[in-house]
């Protein structure tokens, strides 16, 4: 899911009493190396640190059938050492980037990122590590490293999906909305069988196809001298071969054409949950902003329609939320309501449908829309208070819009949403006859008869 969050300009006026500017933006400069690597720099001298963040324009979207989970497994391989940096973790730990999530990577449906926050004077070492795995991963790759990470990733799936309440429903969502051979099936994490089937040849082929300067953007945010940063980036990345012209995945979005009903047994859930899911939009598509506001009006807070009706008035739910998840190959809009003890999914569904019917018919009030817009823009103002957050946001805007300086336009995009657009969104994004309805039911024998 694309984060809605963003930043604010940091006008750090030493000794000044003036309050900070309220319109967020992230100042930056950029250049592109001859090999195609786009580089974005943003100075922030609050603390003596820099964060280096690379987005590769590859994710689950680029996987082949039979290789679910592969983009993420590949991400793990990028930490297993490269030709000149056999143990990047060891190097990072020695310069103090060993704690608190300072260095990590993540994979989602459409992109993969790698990042580290290091002391300002260690910028060259961060660039050395990133350039080496961009250019020299394969010479020291071996079967043993792959076997280990296949097992580690399998355990990641067990820990983060299988053993979390409602984790299995998420897999069911992916498999229903994106049936095989769509590359999103089994979500980003993939099936254990297919994770275990990944071969060294798969890793090599994926690297050659997607891991190159031309298919990446490099962002540096923090306490650095731009001239020095440019010189160092050129030194470490300038002689890497550019790689093939990147191919963007182009898979049509499968569309639901009816109401699909599924019961999902969940051995680690003790309370039933209703999920209603519709086909959704792509990031920065014209309908996205209104869809986001709609999700807030419906289920984004205590004042939302669903919370008021299901949690406060009817008291049949213990929690509810709505999310507009935009994805590169088409996303999904999701409503999730967890029962209150003793209540059923059927009760929840009846009330959710009543809320939706009313919203489709009468639309939201102007006050509701205004409140939701403030919530979204407020999130943009505060959420990239961190240099690591700003770096990721610069890369996100670059990837999706081509414009690293998109933040003010993003704010404007949400501020411009009208009540009637949200009303339209309720009608067009959430059709009553084309959706997935999941009834997640406790499956553990221990749960039977034990509900309050």
């Amino acid at each position: 899911m694309r984060a809605r969050a963003v930043v604010v300009t940091c006008l750090l006026l030493a000794g000044a009493r003036a309050l900070a500017a309220t319109e967020p933006s992230i100042p930056y400069t950029e250049f592109t190396l001859p090999n195609g690597l786009r580089v974005i720099l943003s100075e922030d001298h609050r603390a003596p640190q820099v964060t280096v963040n690379i987005w590769y324009h590859v994710g689950a979207a680029n996987q082949r059938p039979g290789r679910s989970g592969f983009a993420h497994l590949f991400e793990h391989m990028m930490f297993s050492g490269s030709q000149h940096v056999p143990d990047p973790d060891k190097v990072l730990a020695a310069i103090g980037a060993g704690l608190g999530g300072a260095a990590n990577g993540s994979t989602n449906f459409d992109r993969t990122n790698y990042f580290e926050t290091v002391p300002a004077n260690q910028l060259p070492t961060a660039l050395w590590i990133e350039s080496d795995r961009m250019g020299f991963l394969l010479p020291t790759l071996d079967e043993k490293k792959l076997v280990t990470q296949r097992d580690v990733v399998s355990n990641e799936r067990r820990q983060r999906i299988e053993n979390q309440p409602y984790g299995r429903a998420y897999l069911e969502l992916c498999d229903t909305l994106y049936p095989k051979p769509h590359p999103y099936y089994h979500c980003v994490i993939g099936s254990i069988e297919e994770i275990q089937a990944a071969s060294l040849e798969d890793v090599k082929g994926f690297f050659r196809e997607f891991y190159s300067p031309r298919n990446a953007t490099l962002t540096i945010v923090g306490d650095f001298d731009p001239a020095v940063a440019r010189e160092q980036v050129t030194r470490y990345f300038g002689d890497l071969p550019g790689g093939p012209e990147p191919k963007r995945p182009d898979v049509p979005q499968p569309k639901l054409d009816r109401v699909v009903e599924k019961t999902v047994p969940d051995p680690v859930a003790r309370i039933p949950q209703l999920q209603m899911v519709w086909n959704g939009s792509k990031p920065f598509a014209p309908e996205e902003a209104a869809g986001d506001i709609l999700s807030v009006v419906l289920g984004g807070s205590k004042t939302s329609r669903l919370y008021r009706r299901l949690v406060e008035e009817k008291q049949i739910a213990s929690g509810v939320y709505a999310a507009n998840a935009s994805l590169g190959l088409g996303g999904y809009f999701q409503i999730v309501a967890t029962a209150r003890g003793g209540h059923t999914v059927a009760e929840l569904r009846k009330e959710v449908e009543a809320v939706l019917d009313d919203l489709r018919k009468n639309g939201p009030t102007p006050a509701e829309v205004e409140r939701a817009k403030r919530t979204v823009v407020g999130g943009m103002v505060r959420s990239v208070e961190r240099i690591s957050g700003k770096a990721d946001q610069l890369n996100a805007y670059t990837f999706w819009t081509g414009d690293p300086g998109y933040l003010p336009k993003d704010v404007a995009r949400y501020k411009a949403v009208t009540t009637s657009q949200v009303h339209d969104a309720a009608r067009t994004l959430l059709p009553p006859d084309r959706l997935l309805v999941m009834d997640v039911e406790p499956a553990s024998p221990a749960a039977a008869g034990a509900r309050p």
Binding site: H84, G100, G101, N121, Q159, V228, A446, G449
Partner: protein, 504 residues
């Protein structure tokens, strides 16, 4: 999104040497010219040294009613964070009211004398302000994050919630129903079940901290509206509270703004807490909870250590980072990178005013539950010897120091950190002075403290996972194996509860 490692977990590094060595090149007949990339073999030198990070230290003030105010100005973003901390939390729960502090926290923002739950939520959202209330073992925090141009109306709402909560019966019953649902949910969640067993082992079944998080079904049903009001009246007092402010405020105005809203809050003497003593060391046990359908086992080995104000605390933190807190610590390396049995296995330490906790925690694939415990036991032997190398120590110190700018980057984190320091009895300049103290810490000192407080060979063990995968557990000789499945899952004989709590 899937990540290479959970970002909440401490990370990186093995400390077996300094320079990284290249794999040997195959021999060739004629000496080739050096490869064009040979310069990449060497880690780059650092750039010129930069001035060290200065951790924020608050200015301390107090209002006439003895409410302490901590102020830290920061104009980086147009945001102000105000955390109102009450210095009594779960430690204020009476013996038959487990979950009371949690209940107060869950219901205090559900309406005030002049605002309904909905009105309060609407007004906060109209300001794009976020108010969160979180209960802890030693306090309850009301955490407000607002935009600086709406600080005044946002402060009005924070003060109203803190000082004038209504605890209307309908709101209380709604919160009760949601709370009971949450307790039921925890009975199926391996991580939550393990945490409750850990708390009981650490603090004992008579201690408020040893109760299941959020209380029990019986105790939550027993909590009356009067209990909530009494807790509030007793502990929500300016002399038992702290206001911690970080952000984009005007320093010449902020005290007046706070005085207008909190100055009339009346002090009242707060009863001293009467907590039972922590349990004495018992013979080692292995607690098991059967989760037949789980694909992993949650493992925990735990013990109490020392309080935050103990002079040995920093050395203990450093020892833990070196031995089990980093991604490349041997514990994680062995269980994850050598065996492939887990997504992560780490040890951690934490401190409060009264004691501290050392814990080894992680999830392993179910069929290697017993093998994993065997490996963990072997790796933990180093903790008891304090056998830490110079480079391990150096990397631990560097990791702690360099994590500070990120840990203290946001106003949210800074305001909360000041409260934590105050709650656990550490000086407010703890982080500003940390580099000096950490630099003076020697390997012998760290080894001594590790030996004194970390003897994992005695630690009780918690295993939450499929019983069918625990064959050979007793043969590890980690202590007597006690099956607490029935108690942990609330299946012990008890009449079936009514479907909804009676109105009170």
């Amino acid at each position: 999104m899937s990540a290479r490692r959970l970002s909440t977990v401490g990370l990186l590094l093995v400390a077996l040497g300094c320079a990284s060595s290249k794999p040997a090149q195959p021999a060739v007949a004629a000496a080739p010219p050096p490869p064009p990339d040979a310069w990449r073999d060497t880690q780059p030198a650092a750039l010129a040294a930069v001035p060290p990070f200065r951790a924020p230290v608050p200015v301390q003030r107090s209002l006439p009613n003895r409410l302490t105010v901590l102020l830290r100005e920061n104009h980086a973003v147009p945001v102000v964070v105000v955390e109102l901390a009450i210095k009594t939390g779960v430690d204020g729960d009476p013996p038959d009211r487990a979950g009371l502090a949690d209940f107060v926290a869950a219901s205090i923002d559900e309406g005030t004398r002049t605002r309904s739950s909905q009105q309060l939520a609407e007004q906060l959202e109209d300001l794009a302000a976020v108010l969160g209330v979180s209960p802890g073992l030693d306090g309850i925090r009301l955490h407000l994050n607002c935009l600086s141009d709406t600080l005044e109306p946002a402060l009005d709402l924070l003060a109203d919630v803190a000082l004038n909560p209504a605890f209307r019966p309908a709101d209380v019953e709604r919160v009760r129903g949601i709370t009971l649902t949450g307790l039921e949910q925890r009975r199926g969640n391996p991580g939550a079940l393990a945490s409750d067993e850990v708390a009981r082992l650490l603090y004992g079944s008579k201690h408020p901290w040893g109760q299941p998080a959020g209380g029990t079904v019986d105790s939550v049903k027993a909590i009356r509206r009067q209990d909530l009001m009494r807790f509030h009246d007793t502990y929500f007092r300016p002399n038992n509270a702290l206001l911690s402010v970080s952000g984009d405020f005007e320093p010449e105005k902020i005290l007046a703004l706070l005085s207008e809203r909190f100055g009339a809050w009346r002090p009242k003497s707060v009863p001293p807490s009467r907590l039972p003593p922590f349990p004495k060391d018992a013979p080692r046990t292995v607690i098991t909870v059967d989760m037949p359908d789980s694909t992993q086992s949650q493992l925990a080995l735990v013990t109490r250590t020392l309080s935050a104000t103990n002079p040995d605390a920093l050395a203990l933190s450093t020892a833990n980072v070196a031995l089990g807190g980093l991604f490349t610590s041997r514990l994680n390396q062995q269980l994850r990178e050598v065996r492939g049995w887990t997504y992560g296995m780490f040890s951690s330490v934490g401190f409060n005013k009264r004691t501290g906790v050392f814990q080894v925690r992680g999830s392993v694939v179910a069929q290697h539950t017993v093998d994993s415990l065997k490996d963990i036991e072997a790796e933990l032997k180093r903790y008891a010897t304090g056998d830490i190398t110079d480079s391990e120590l150096q990397h631990a110190k560097e990791g702690i120091l360099q994590s500070l700018p990120q840990a203290l980057e946001t106003n949210d984190a800074v305001a909360s950190t000041f409260v934590t320091l105050s709650n656990i009895g550490r000086p407010l300049d703890w982080y500003a002075t940390l580099p000096g103290r950490l630099g003076a810490l020697g390997r012998e000192e760290v080894a001594r403290v590790s030996r004194a407080y970390l003897d994992p060979g005695k630690l009780p063990v918690v295993v939450v996972g499929p019983k069918k995968d625990q064959q050979g557990l007793a043969e590890l000789h980690l202590g007597s194996v006690v099956d607490r499945t029935a108690e942990a899952k609330g299946l012990a004989a008890r009449p079936a509860p009514p479907s909804a709590p009676a109105a009170r």
